[in-house]
């Protein structure tokens, strides 16, 4: 169990690191998908099969595909390569520092807190029961959020036609 976890964790971290430092958007996206899949495995290992399924279907399957669509639509491959050629090691200093601080903070908490292990699986039925129970309002709000996101994306992404003078020029 723990070994599987360790392997999956390593894969996830490595894939993410590759993604962050990648030059080519498509390669980066694939790396990201790999990372997400590794995390899905971890979800399963934690006894959350629904989360694992959702991770694969929604996150890796829908959101990343959307990314792919846009990258390929705009043919960003070539452009990104040239821009990233200018990336210097110097720019890494502050972000790495921030990340290190962050890790230190949370680790200090982790060290203090008891870290029990779970044991049972929490299946889809339990999650569904929670969603339609105490978290009902949040579900509705999430739906509203998705609607708002939809409308906003349509509006923001529209084409500026010659006769279209309405709305704030963005």
């Amino acid at each position: 169990m723990l070994i599987a976890f360790a392997v999956a964790a390593t894969v996830a971290v490595a894939a993410t690191a590759l993604m962050v430092s990648s030059r080519h958007p498509v390669h980066a996206l694939l790396d990201l998908i790999l990372s997400l899949l590794a995390v899905a495995v971890i979800f399963y290992l934690l006894g959350a099969p629904l989360a694992a399924a959702l991770e694969v279907i929604v996150y890796a399957g829908a959101i990343m595909v959307l990314f792919l669509f846009v990258v390929m639509l705009l043919d960003l491959g070539r452009v990104a390569e040239e821009a990233q050629a200018a990336l210097e090691p110097r720019a890494l200093r502050v972000p790495v520092l921030l990340a290190a601080v962050l890790i230190a903070e949370v680790m200090s908490l982790l060290v203090q807190a008891p870290s029990g292990a779970g044991g049972r699986q929490v299946g889809a039925a339990a999650v569904g029961g929670a969603l339609f129970g105490p978290y009902l309002i949040a579900v509705e709000l999430a739906a509203l959020l998705l609607l708002a996101g939809l409308v906003a994306a349509v509006h923001v992404g529209r084409r500026e036609d010659a006769g279209d003078t309405r709305g704030s020029g963005s």
Partner: protein
Amino acid sequence: MSGAVPMSWALLLALVLFALGLIGLLVRRNLVFILMSIEVMLNAAGLAFVAAGARWGEPDGQVMFLFILAVAAAEVAIGLALVLQMWRRFGDVDADLTGRRDGG
């Protein structure tokens, strides 16, 4: 199957992923890469939630993960729409182009 994966390990993993995403966010200039780094961070947060929920055997962690998913989806949609607009306007998706000098 639902083994004894200590919560602290999972949280540590989430932390590392989050930190990597943060670094990517701050370092990259390409807007698409920035968005991807945000996704990484969101995912890491979701992992933390699920791990915590599994520790106590409650569905709440997964419920939170679901909502994070919804948020990520909405955010990606709008973010990519912005990328589209930027591409149309500038021909490039470099984040520095949003500064005032270029009339952004």
